[in-house]
Structure formats: C-alpha cells, structure tokens
Symmetry: D2
Subunit: 167 residues, 4 copies
C-alpha cells in the first residue's frame, strides 16, 4: 500500500454546483475540493487541478480531450476526477481507450456537496481510496461500488450506476 501523491482533476458536475442567490439557480463559482480535503483531514500530498467547471451535459470533445491531456501531463500516477454523472462514462471511455499507465478514478455526485443529504463526500472518499489501491486503469466510483470503465452505465431513471456487459 503506497501513499504517493494523488492528483484531483476537477471538471465540475453536480458535485461542485453552488446556489446563486441573486439568479436563484444552481451554477458554478469555484470548487469545494480544497474545503473537502481539509474536512477529510487528508495527510498525503494532494494536488488539485481546476480543469474546468461545467455541467457534463455541456461537455464537447474539446472538454473531454482537455481531461485526457491533464491525465497525460500529470506527474502523479494516481488520479481522481470529479465529473458530472450524465456523461461520466463517455469521458471514462475516452480515458480508458488511451491506455495510460495510471490509475484514474472518476466520481461525482447525485446531489451537490452544498445541499443537505449530498453523496459527494462519501463518493469522493471511495474514489480517493480506489485511486490509491487499484492498479493502472480507468474506473468509476459511484454508489459505493468501483466499476471498470467499460462495464458501467448510468440508469438515468433511477439515478444509479449499474453494471453492463463489457464492450
């Protein structure tokens, strides 16, 4: 069990949405990750990289390629990516096919960190552990499970990540 540095690549998604009280809607301002790492009392070196703050339904190829490039450039071999749940598997697929020699775990939230009963902190915990414990590959950590990138899909009606047959 190593305790090498972990890079967190922030892309936005429900996880980081914040309430804008003037406009009366959920939007992005900055990431909760610095606050979360302090709260989690994490003692290993962590690098937070604000790649983008976007709803994953808005993500274009350029957005996903930017995430891939960030993974490629990262000096760390252990990476957690916070991402919107709606197209998390699409980005995971792009990263998976790139076959980097790194352990990359995507996670997100069904309820924003800032809202009562949010799953963000738990999900991040599972992803943070998985990024340290698994070998090279691309994974999704949601609902207390760790999925291989090509064996998972989001059930949108239920708001849950479930297994699917491998491609």
């Amino acid at each position: 069990m190593d305790h090498e540095a972990v890079r967190i690549i922030v892309t936005g998604g429900t996880f980081d949405k914040q309430y804008d009280e003037i406009r009366g809607e959920l939007t992005f301002r900055d990431s909760h990750l610095p606050e979360i790492l302090k709260r989690a009392r994490v003692t290993i070196p962590v690098e937070i990289e604000l790649n983008q703050l976007i709803d994953s339904l808005q993500m274009q190829d350029a957005n996903r390629n930017s995430v891939l490039e960030a993974c490629r450039q990262a000096p760390e071999t252990r990476i957690v990516i916070t991402h919107g749940t709606d197209t998390m598997t699409t980005t995971a697929s792009l990263l998976g096919k790139a076959s980097l020699e790194k352990t990359i775990v995507l996670t997100g939230a069904m309820v924003p960190y800032q809202i009562q009963d949010s799953d963000a902190l738990f999900n991040f915990g599972t992803a943070f552990a998985a990024a340290q414990l698994l070998g090279p590959g691309v994974y999704i950590a949601m609902n207390g499970r760790i999925f291989d990138w090509d064996k998972v899909r989001k059930n949108r009606e239920k708001g849950l990540f479930v297994e699917k047959a491998a491609d």
Copy 2:
C-alpha cells in the same frame, strides 16, 4: 472487482456520538449507519450489525473479543468496522493476529457525523472502498490513507493516524 455483500460492524466511537440536549453532552443513542448508507445511495448488499455503542477508551478485553467474534461469525468476507479512534489500533491488532481469511477495515471519525465539518462520511467512504478492493487482512482507513494494522499509530496531539515501523 467483485461486488459481494459487505458487513458493517458498529462499535460506537466519536463517529456515532449524538448530542443529548437534556443532559447537555455527547452520548450514544443509536447508529447513523442506516442513514449514511441511504445518503450514500449504496447499491450492493450491506448488513449492519450493532455490536456495541461505546467510547473506545472504555473498551475492555471483552469488548474487543466481541468484535473479533463478530468478524469470525460473519458470513461475509468483506467487513467494515466503525470504531473510536483512541484504541482503534489495539482492536486492529487483536483482529490482525487472529489471521482470519477476511478483509477487515476499521475506520472512525475525529468529529461526530452529526457535527458540522465531520470527517465521518469521507472516512467511511474510504473504508467501504478498501473493504471491497483489498485482499484478506486487517487495515485502518483514516485521513484518506489505508494502513496495514501493524504499521499505524494515532498521534493524539495532532489527532492524526501516522505510519509506524512494523512490529
């Protein structure tokens, strides 16, 4: 990566302390684990076992043996134990020396789940992932790290779990 059932053995500790508004102090009433699993939107089978609700400074040999016995009896091979941080390593040591063919991860919290800025949900997330990803053995998941049972101690001044030389 399997998704077999996980057993959660609750022993109390800071993690589950609640405020008693009549007596004006922190005490135990019941466990927050059922609420936490719902909030975490966990989809794999989980069995919660209320073993005891106790401050780990109060734990006697009988208390620790009860935890060991619960691990032994558990039909699941993947176990998370919530435990007070003060003597977590003592219980981990007892379990470690028993060499059960199970993956057992102890975790806890520096701040009760019910109190603002608690690390309970994050820690539980790391332990829940570790219990599924690691091979047989006994581990402690605290501060975003997963430690082998015989390579960790609590630094009480700082309130952090740190590495120590193996016994």
Copy 3:
C-alpha cells in the same frame, strides 16, 4: 404578550425549494415547515396550511387571491406566510389593502432551507416573533428587519429588502 395560536400559510418560494436529483434542478416536493417547527422546539399551537408550492415569479392574481382568502378564513389572528422573495411585496400589498383585523407577516429566503448557509430558519424566526408581537397589519420580515408592507422593496441586484417611501 399573548401566546395564542399562529397559522403558517405556505406558498413555496426559494424557502421550500428542494433538489430533484433525477432532473438535476431545484423544484418543489413538500414543505419543510413541519420539520422546522420540530427543530425550533416551538411550544405554542401552530397550524400549517399548505396553500400552494410555487415560485413567486409564477404567481398570478388567482394565486395571490388564494393567499388573501386563506388569511380571511383563518380562525387565528396571527399569521406567518412563507413566500418567494421576488413578488413578496406585491402579495403584501394586496393583503395590506384588504385591511383585515389580523397580524400578517410575510417572510422567505434568499437560499433554500436545504442548502448550506440558508437564511430560511433565521428569517422564519424573526417572522414568527413579529407575528406574535405586532398589532394588526401586514409586514415583511427579511434581513433581520420588520417592514410595513407599503414601505419596502426588494433590491434585486443585491438580493436585499430595503426601505422605500410609503405609497
């Protein structure tokens, strides 16, 4: 100082908005008032009336008349109305001109009760006290101030209620 019953007329607004995790947006499901009264440990008789659950920007004349009618029909003479902030003064004006022999206090929130750092509980506290302490009339309780219905406007850029010259 009397402690007669208070009626709470719920109309929705930001105060009661909830996050819908499937649709990924803020919407209405039910009111948080029952939960709030329990949390507030209120000991006087309170009647909660769910009049409507609507964004106040959507309110039509029929919606406002329904609130007026509810005030008229209420057996209690002390009434708190939870209301969206955007047209709170419009409804207050309708109620004020009706000159009922009741003490009616409108309040709301800039941030939903369910979201971190919400002002809902504080605002409700000020309105709940004002409804018991003031004589007949229509008032708005926001930003820790109690305004006469015809001497207040919302500054939308700042998200604050401020004094204006009486009509």
Copy 4:
C-alpha cells in the same frame, strides 16, 4: 418600527459550544455570531460584544454583574444576549430588577449551533426581532415564545421554557 442599531452581548452557553476534536468534548473557542449575522444577511447596524464564553451553570455573581454592566454601558437601547439556558432566568431576573430603560432579550439554544438540528438560528431570529419590536424591559425568547423575565422558568426534564406565575 425603528431600525436602530442592535447590540449582541455574547456570554456563551450551549449556543456557542464547539467540538474540540483533540479532547473529544464540547467546549468554547469563539462565537458563531459573526458567521450567523452574515448568514442571516442582516442589514441593520449590529455590534457584537464578546462578554464571556461560559457554561451558564458555571456563572457566578461576578459573571452576571458583568452582563448587567455591559447592558448599562451599551450605547444601544436594543440588546440581545446569548446565554446558557440553565441559569438564563437568573441572569434575566438580575437584569429585570435593574430596570434599565432598554429592551433586553435573552436567548440561547438547546442544541449547539454547530450540531445538526440546532435551534440556535431560529431562537436568535426570534430574539433579534423581539429586541426591535418590544418596549423597554427584559425578556426571554425561547421555543418560539417571548416571555417577560419574571414569568418564565425552564422545565429541565423536558428542556423547554414554560410560563410561571409572576413573582
């Protein structure tokens, strides 16, 4: 209805207790009032005076006299005092008998501000409104009610403030 400045005199009590994660107990560090006023989006001038941070069961005559002196010295005529609930009526009685020409409202909390389901924010809201709306006198704002200082006692078994016959 005036909107003159309000002075808040902080004395501690359950309201302001904080969890000390090293010692594992509730204690005092500083007051949550600055954070609360920001959260409440209060727009009238408020002066916060940190008089003491003490459990009200520990209060001696000197402590209560210090509160009385603070009220006397205050340039504002509208004062809110945050206070432990156990001896709140004792301090209120001392202040009441002093017959200052000021409106003084004592409030507190059964559950610390920092703990889930706290009544602190609501109680403070009721006290903040009462301090602005009532004439000179000493009052206690708890459980959604405003009591005259000599007509209230705490029922310790139930943790509620109830009416008692005037002295």
